[in-house]
C-alpha cells in the first residue's frame, strides 16, 4: 500500500512541472543554438583562412628569400626581414588551434618555440650539418630562429654571405612550409567534417577543443609573451630576452596581434562563434552578457598593450607600470575565459571519469 502511494509521487511531480509550464503557452526550447553551424563557421570562416593566410605569407617569404639569394643586398635583405615579420604576425592567428592536424604535426612547436636556442643555431650554421626535425634542434627552429638569424647577424656581412647561413634560413622555411601544408591538407581532406560534426560537449568534442585551446593559447600570451619577460616568475627580476621576438623587436605588435586573433576566435570572426553560443544560453556575468564582458576584456587587454610605447624587450624595464597594467588586464580576463565560459557551456575539459564533484 505504502509503496503504491510512493509510486504516485513521481507522476504527481511530473504533472505539476508540466502544468506550471502551461501558463506560458507552448514552451520554446531554450537552446536552439546550431553548434554545427558555429563549428562550420569556425572551420571555413576562421581557422582555415588563418592557415591559408599563413601559407600565402610563407610562399611570399620564399619568393623574397630567392630574390635575396640571387641578389644579396641591404634592400633585398630588408625585404626578407619585413616578410618574416608578416609571417610571424600571420602565425599568431593560427596559434590557438593546436588540436587535430595541428597537434599531430606539432605545428606550434615547429613555428614558435621561444626563447630560441642561439647556441644550437650557431653550431648548426657553423657545421652546415643538421636535421631540423631532430630532438636536439627543437628549440632552434621556426620563427624565433629566423628572428635571430635575420636580425642578430646584421652587423657581420661576412657571415650573411655564407652558404651555410642561407641554407639554415632555407631549411627553416622548408620545415615550416612542409608542416603547415600537412595541416592544411588534413583540414581540406577530412578533418573539417570530423570537426564540424563533433557537436557534443564531452572532452575531445570540437567545442571543448576550441574552448580548451583558446584558454591554453591565451595563457601562453599572458605568461610566455608578457609575464615571464616581465619577471613574473622570477621575483620581479625581468628577463627581457625571453620576449617573443627579442632580435627583431616585434614582441609588442605580436602580442597585440595575438590577442586580437584570440578575440576573433572567441567571436567567430564575422560569423557564429562562442560569443553567440553564450548569448543563446543567456550566459550572464554580474548582470551583463558574459560574451560582452569577455569582448570588453579583450578590448581592455588590447588597449593596455597598445599603451606600452616601446617594444616589450625595452618596456619590461623602462615601462614597468604600463606592462604591469597589461598583465593585470590579461589576468582579469583569464577568470572569465577559464571559469565562467566553460562552466556555462557545460564543457568537459578533461578526459578522466568524473562524478561531478
Amino acid at each position: 500500500m505504502m509503496i503504491r502511494r510512493l509510486l504516485i509521487l513521481p507522476l504527481l511531480v511530473v504533472g505539476l512541472v508540466f502544468s506550471s509550464c502551461d501558463g506560458d503557452g507552448p514552451e520554446e526550447p531554450k537552446d536552439t543554438f546550431d553548434k554545427e553551424a558555429m563549428l562550420t563557421n569556425m572551420a571555413s570562416g576562421v581557422i582555415i583562412p588563418a592557415y591559408e593566410d599563413l601559407q600565402e605569407s610563407l610562399t611570399n617569404l620564399q619568393d623574397v628569400k630567392d630574390v635575396w639569394s640571387a641578389q644579396p643586398s641591404a634592400s633585398t635583405f630588408d625585404a626578407l626581414r619585413d616578410q618574416y615579420a608578416v609571417v610571424h604576425t600571420k602565425w599568431v592567428a593560427c596559434s590557438a588551434y593546436e588540436f587535430g592536424p595541428a597537434a599531430e604535426n606539432n605545428l606550434r612547436l615547429t613555428f614558435n618555440t621561444f626563447p630560441t636556442d642561439t647556441a644550437q643555431i650557431n653550431q648548426n650554421v657553423a657545421s652546415g650539418n643538421y636535421d631540423l626535425e631532430a630532438n636536439q634542434n627543437s628549440d632552434a627552429i621556426g620563427l624565433p630562429a629566423l628572428d635571430y638569424l635575420l636580425y642578430f647577424y646584421e652587423a657581420d656581412d661576412a657571415v650573411v654571405q655564407l652558404a651555410e647561413y642561407e641554407g639554415y634560413v632555407q631549411a627553416n622555411i622548408d620545415l615550416m612550409t612542409k608542416t603547415l601544408d600537412a595541416v592544411v591538407d588534413a583540414w581540406n581532406a577530412s578533418y573539417t567534417d570530423d570537426f564540424t560534426s563533433s557537436t557534443g560537449s564531452a572532452a575531445g568534442s570540437s567545442t571543448s577543443l576550441l574552448v580548451n585551446e583558446l584558454n591554453f593559447d591565451y595563457e601562453l600570451v599572458k605568461n610566455a609573451s608578457l609575464g615571464i619577460p616581465a619577471g613574473k616568475k622570477t621575483l620581479g627580476i625581468t628577463q627581457p630576452y625571453k620576449v617573443e621576438s627579442p632580435y627583431g623587436r616585434h614582441s609588442k605588435s605580436l602580442a597585440i596581434a595575438h590577442v586580437q586573433a584570440l578575440r576573433n576566435c572567441f567571436a567567430g570572426g564575422s560569423g557564429q562563434g562562442l560569443d553567440d553560443y553564450l548569448d543563446n544560453i543567456e550566459a550572464k556575468h554580474n548582470g551583463e552578457l558574459l560574451s560582452q564582458a569577455i569582448l570588453d576584456g579583450f578590448d581592455d587587454v588590447e588597449t593596455k598593450l597598445a599603451a606600452i610605447s616601446g617594444d616589450l624587450l625595452i618596456a619590461v624595464d623602462d615601462e614597468a607600470t604600463a606592462v604591469e597594467a597589461a598583465y593585470v588586464s590579461m589576468q582579469n580576463l583569464v577568470v572569465l575565459l577559464k571559469t565562467d565560459m566553460p562552466s556555462q557551456l557545460g564543457i568537459q575539459i578533461t578526459y578522466q571519469d568524473n562524478d561531478g564533484d
Binding site: 513521481p10 511530473v14 620581479g236 572569465l336 571559469t339 557545460g346 571519469d353 568524473n354 564533484d357
Partner: protein, 450 residues
C-alpha cells in the same frame, strides 16, 4: 520476541547463497573490465606517472607513490585479484589483495576521487568477510573450503545496505534549492547534450531539466525500497537499467553505471538467481538440509557490534558537513565520502603567488606543476589549495627562494553563477595545517540568483 525476530531476519536467517554468488562473479568481472579499461586508456601513465605532485586525502598524506613503473604492478595485481574473486580462487586472499591494491591506488592521488571508487573500496573490504566462495568457486572445487548452499542472511544484507546507501544519500544530497528549484546543474548539462540521438531534441527544453532533476531525486530516494519489494522489483530494476544507461550516454561517469546495474541484481530472489545459475549447470538443493554454513558467527556480540558500528558510521559520516557554516557546495568541507554525485557545475581559477622576504613575487603558472585535471580539481577544492601551497613553498625554497608566504587569488563559478572570489588572498596558505576546523579563509558564498 520482536527484537529476536528482527535480529534473526537481519543476521541469522538462512538464505540461499545464489544472489551473493552472482554478485561475487559479476563484481569481479566488472572490476576486471574497469582495471583493463583504465590501463588501455593510458590513464595509469597519465594519472600516476606524469604528475610532479599528488594531492592526498586528509590523514593519508603518508601514502607514497610506488617507485618508477611499479604502479603497473599494482594495477596488474588488482586486476588479477578481480579474476580470482570472480573464479572464487583463494577467495579470501584475493579479496584482501583487491581491497588493499584498489584502495592504495585511490589513495595515491585524491584528484581522481569518485564516490563509486569509495563504494568499491567499501565493498572490497566487505567481501573479505563474506562467505561468497562457498558455491560455484574453485575453492570448493579444490576442497579449500566447505560447500554451502545456504548462508546467513547478514552477508547479503550488508551488500544491499551499501548499495542502498549510495542511492539514498545521493537522493538526500539532491534535496537542495539549486537542484530542485533551479534544475542546476542539469539545466546547463542537458542542453549541451542536445545532439544525442533520440532524446537529444528533448534536452533543449528547460522543463526537461526540471523533470529530470525531480525524477532523479525521487529515483535515488526510493529505488532501494522498490528493489526490496517483491512486487515492484522488476519495474524497479528496469528503472535502474534505464537510469544508468541514460546517465552513461550523457556524462563521463566511467564504469559506475555498469557496477550498479550488475550489483543491484542481488536484490532479486534466490529462485531467480538459482534459475540463472542453472543455465550454466550449477544446481542448488531444495531444502535447508542441503550443505549449509553455520550461523553461529552472526550471533557473536563482536560481529554484531561491528555491523552496527559500520551502519552508524555510514549513516552519520555523510552529514559531517553540518559542522561547518556556509554553503557546502561552495566550501566543500565535509563534501567527500557523502555520495554527492553530479551535483555541481563548478569551475575555478587560482593564481598562486609566492612572496619572498623582500616582498617580491613569483606568479605561479599552475601548468608548470599540475596536470590539467589536477589544476581543475585544485581550483575548486580548498584542501587541495593548502597542499599545493605547501608544495610551492617547498619547491621554491629548494630553488633558493626565501619564501615568506604563498597566497592565491582564486575565483569560482558554481552552478551557472558569475565567478566570485573564493579565497582570502591575504592569507598565507602555506602556513596553514589542514584539519577538521572550519576553514575561515574561504570567502563566504554569494549568489547572484534567487
Amino acid at each position: 520476541m520482536a527484537i529476536k525476530n528482527i535480529t534473526h531476519n537481519l543476521f541469522s536467517r538462512k538464505v540461499s547463497i545464489a544472489p551473493l554468488v552472482t554478485f561475487r562473479v559479476l563484481f569481479g568481472l566488472v572490476m576486471l573490465i574497469s582495471m583493463v579499461r583504465f590501463w588501455a586508456n593510458g590513464w595509469i601513465d597519465m594519472q600516476y606517472l606524469q604528475s610532479a605532485m599528488q594531492f592526498k586525502f586528509f590523514g593519508f598524506d603518508w601514502v607514497a607513490m610506488p617507485p618508477g613503473e611499479w604502479v603497473y604492478v599494482l594495477f596488474a595485481t588488482c586486476a588479477l585479484s578481480c579474476v580470482m574473486i570472480a573464479l572464487g580462487l583463494f577467495y579470501r586472499v584475493a579479496a584482501v589483495l583487491f581491497f588493499i591494491t584498489f584502495t592504495y591506488i585511490e589513495l595515491l592521488d585524491a584528484t581522481f576521487y569518485l564516490n563509486h571508487y569509495y563504494f568499491i573500496s567499501l565493498v572490497g573490504l566487505l567481501l573479505v568477510f563474506l562467505p561468497a566462495n562457498k558455491k560455484a568457486s574453485l575453492d570448493v572445487y579444490l576442497g579449500l573450503t566447505s560447500k554451502a548452499d545456504h548462508i546467513p542472511v547478514l552477508a547479503q544484507n550488508l551488500v544491499m545496505f551499501h548499495l542502498g546507501l549510495v542511492y539514498f544519500f545521493a537522493g538526500v544530497a539532491k534535496l537542495n534549492s539549486d537542484w530542485l528549484f533551479h534544475a542546476m546543474p542539469l539545466a546547463i548539462w542537458l542542453p549541451a547534450q542536445d545532439t544525442l540521438p533520440v532524446i537529444g531534441g528533448l534536452l533543449k527544453y528547460e522543463a526537461t531539466a526540471y523533470i529530470m532533476s525531480w525524477a532523479g531525486a525521487i529515483y535515488d530516494l526510493t529505488i532501494p525500497f522498490f528493489l526490496l519489494s517483491k512486487r515492484f522489483r522488476w519495474p524497479a530494476y528496469a528503472a535502474v537499467v534505464g537510469f544508468h544507461v541514460v546517465t552513461w550516454a550523457m556524462f563521463q561517469i566511467g564504469m559506475f553505471p555498469f557496477i550498479m546495474i550488475a550489483s543491484t541484481l542481488i536484490f532479486f530472489s534466490a529462485a531467480f538467481h538459482q534459475r540463472l545459475h542453472a543455465l550454466v549447470g550449477i544446481r542448488y538443493g531444495e531444502t535447508e538440509s542441503e550443505p549449509t554454513m553455520g550461523v553461529e558467527w552472526t550471533t557473536q556480540p563482536l560481529v554484531r557490534l561491528a555491523v552496527v558500528a559500520v551502519i552508524c558510521f555510514q549513516l552519520v559520516f555523510p552529514f559531517r558537513h553540518m559542522m561547518y557554516d556556509g554553503n557546502l557546495y561552495w566550501h566543500e568541507q565535509g563534501y567527500r565520502f557523502g555520495w554527492r554525485v553530479m551535483l555541481t557545475e563548478k569551475a575555478g581559477y587560482a593564481q598562486f603567488k609566492v612572496e619572498d622576504t623582500q616582498g617580491r613575487f613569483i606568479y605561479v603558472d599552475n601548468r608548470d606543476f599540475l596536470m590539467p585535471v589536477q589544476e581543475k580539481m585544485m581550483s575548486t577544492q580548498p584542501d587541495f589549495m593548502l597542499q599545493y601551497a605547501q608544495f610551492l613553498k617547498d619547491e621554491y625554497t629548494a630553488q633558493g627562494v626565501d619564501v615568506k608566504a604563498v597566497t592565491t587569488e582564486a575565483f569560482v563559478t558554481l552552478n551557472g553563477r558569475s565567478s566570485r572570489p573564493f579565497i582570502d588572498s591575504s592569507v598565507d596558505l602555506s602556513s596553514i595545517e589542514d584539519s577538521w576546523q572550519q576553514k575561515d579563509w574561504i570567502l563566504p558564498f554569494k549568489s547572484d540568483k534567487g
